[in-house]
């Protein structure tokens, strides 16, 4: 495990403050728009671009295909993989497929329940969870899969992949200790970098980072771009572990409609600026406003 397998990994290992972005594949086969967003705004601003996997259980084109297309455009993807929809056979197979298609960064997630999405009647799988998925990836890297041959020994792979494995955590969860313990398990299972759920409270984040100072994996703090005050309020009430302070909501509410984007960029920039001293990077989730990423990076003073 000496050579970094990806640009993201080498940048993080170099100690630089790393910024990552995110795109979501379309509900349909017209992938041009999201590819264009990535190319136009992210390629030169961020170290890697996350591709979401059927995010919030809303059916979309798969993250593997779009990750591969990013690779072909010279953009480094972070292939997000949830355990909600596929059993261990499919997950292991997709990992090998992703590797073969040039993907190196993978973010192992449990995934939102089908009840949150637009196919609530679907059967949730959750054969593995985020911890056992990370273990499975680590296992594949060691040239094994999870099955046994006829003699009862683990199967040997004909060619093993190597990934840069990521996990997520919710720093501002109401009960933080269970999150931290699980994070420890994820790292023990093989997680090498962390991208967090959205944080709007630098003081709380710093406290969290102090509590996990014993963990060695680099942390990229998550920033979700606010589009309206209403969106902020919705996140407060409905998204667990995300707390948007009233002051920020007020800034969004007070902004004139045409100024919202500008204010939002400012807010994001300030947040990154305030937190960058205690983490190793920022993960920007701009929800389609990817054109703002360069300005956020600038506003953050990076």
């Amino acid at each position: 495990m000496t050579e970094p397998v990806s640009n993201l990994q080498s940048q993080l290992e170099s100690g630089k403050f790393v910024v990552t972005g995110e795109i979501g594949p379309p509900k349909g086969v017209n992938v041009d728009k999201c590819l264009h967003e990535a190319e136009a705004y992210l390629k030169n601003s961020v170290a890697a671009v996350n591709v979401t996997d059927i995010q919030t259980a809303v059916m979309r084109t798969g993250s593997m295909a779009v990750s591969h297309l990013l690779v072909s455009k010279g953009i480094e993807p972070v292939y997000q993989m949830v355990t909600r929809d596929r059993n261990r056979l499919a997950l292991q197979s997709d990992l090998l497929s992703a590797y073969v298609l040039g993907v190196r960064n993978v973010l192992a997630l449990t995934g939102d329940h089908v009840a949150m999405g637009d196919h609530p009647a679907a059967k949730p799988v959750y054969d593995l969870d985020s911890v056992s998925l990370l273990a499975a990836i680590t296992n594949l890297e060691a040239g094994r899969d999870m099955g046994l041959d006829t003699k009862g020994n683990p199967n040997q792979l004909d060619g093993a992949p190597r990934f840069f494995k990521g996990a997520c955590v919710t720093p501002c969860a109401e009960e933080v200790e269970p999150q931290i313990i699980k994070l420890e398990k994820k790292i023990e299972a093989g997680a090498q970098f962390i991208q967090t759920q959205a944080v709007y409270d630098p003081a709380a984040f710093e406290k969290f980072m102090n509590r996990i100072s014993h963990l060695k994996a680099p942390v990229l703090v998550g920033i979700v771009m606010l589009k309206t005050a209403g969106m902020a309020k919705y996140m407060n009430s409905s998204v667990p572990g995300v707390n948007v302070p009233d002051a920020i909501i007020k800034r969004m509410a007070d902004a004139a409609k045409e100024d919202r984007q500008k204010v939002s960029i400012e807010i994001c920039g300030e947040l990154v600026a305030k937190m960058k001293h205690c983490c190793q990077g920022a993960h920007l989730m701009t929800l389609g406003w990817d054109h703002c990423v360069p300005e956020i990076v600038k506003a953050a003073g990076l």
Partner: protein
């Protein structure tokens, strides 16, 4: 115990289309305890069927009976009315009773009056909650007695996901986050180390994974007659 609920009435009536003589058969076990399928509920359903019959001129006659259980065939000796005399039997047993009676009395049309939902316990007067999934591989020893398979919406086994909202599961706001409960319980018991352990991927064969399950107690098998010496 097994918890079940009465099916929508229209669905029951649709099943009864064409039937003139109907027997509503309650079960004196779990479904009596959860007030869904006992003698009283059988009488209530019978009244509703009669009402529908009166209002639409369907001319259905309905009888009511209830036996101790519908999952052991010895109880079939206690019928007040011979089910063979009916076009349809609406069984208010859980799915087990419906299926078992259908198997034992294949000439009869046994219809399910209930939807069987979960294994549960009584948590307040009139309230039952799901406690067990029947996964075949009980982990309650290291989760402080709280089942992550039944009570976590995602059946996770390594701890909370990111969806704990105010102590509740974001899937169903009235549901507690089982893993938060497990964490709190283990902390109270001084056993947080159990939470820290990585639990490997589950063997789902003990659940539905390997098909229909059975329990065999060989010590109760039929004994052949021994030849007299």
């Amino acid at each position: 115990m097994i918890v079940a609920e009465l099916k929508p009435f229209d669905e029951i009536m649709a099943m009864l289309a064409g039937s003139r003589k109907v027997l509503v058969l309650g079960c004196g076990s779990c479904v009596t305890v959860c007030l869904s399928g006992g003698q009283k509920q059988a009488e209530e359903l019978a009244s509703l069927i009669r009402l529908r019959s009166q209002q639409t001129g369907m001319d259905i006659t309905v009888d009511v009976d209830c036996i101790t259980r519908q999952c052991d065939k010895e109880f079939f000796d206690n019928f007040k009315f011979d089910p063979r005399g009916y076009d349809a039997v609406v069984s208010l047993a859980c799915g087990v009773g419906v299926g078992f009676m259908s198997r034992e009395m294949p000439d009869l049309r046994i219809l399910p009056g209930l939807n069987t939902t979960f294994y549960g316990a009584n948590t307040a007067p009139g309230e039952w909650k799901e406690f067990c999934h029947g996964c075949g591989d009980c982990v309650l020893a290291w989760t402080g007695g709280i089942c992550p398979i039944a009570r976590c919406s995602k059946s996770l086994i390594n701890g909370t996901c990111g969806g704990t909202n105010g102590g509740k599961c974001e899937v169903k706001p009235e549901m507690d986050c089982a893993w938060l409960l497990i964490y709190q319980r283990l902390r109270e018991l001084g056993k947080l180390d159990e939470y820290r352990k990585i639990r490997p991927a589950r063997d789902w064969r003990k659940d539905r994974g390997s098909g229909v399950r059975r329990l065999s107690r060989q010590e109760l098998s039929q004994i052949d007659e021994e030849p007299r010496q």
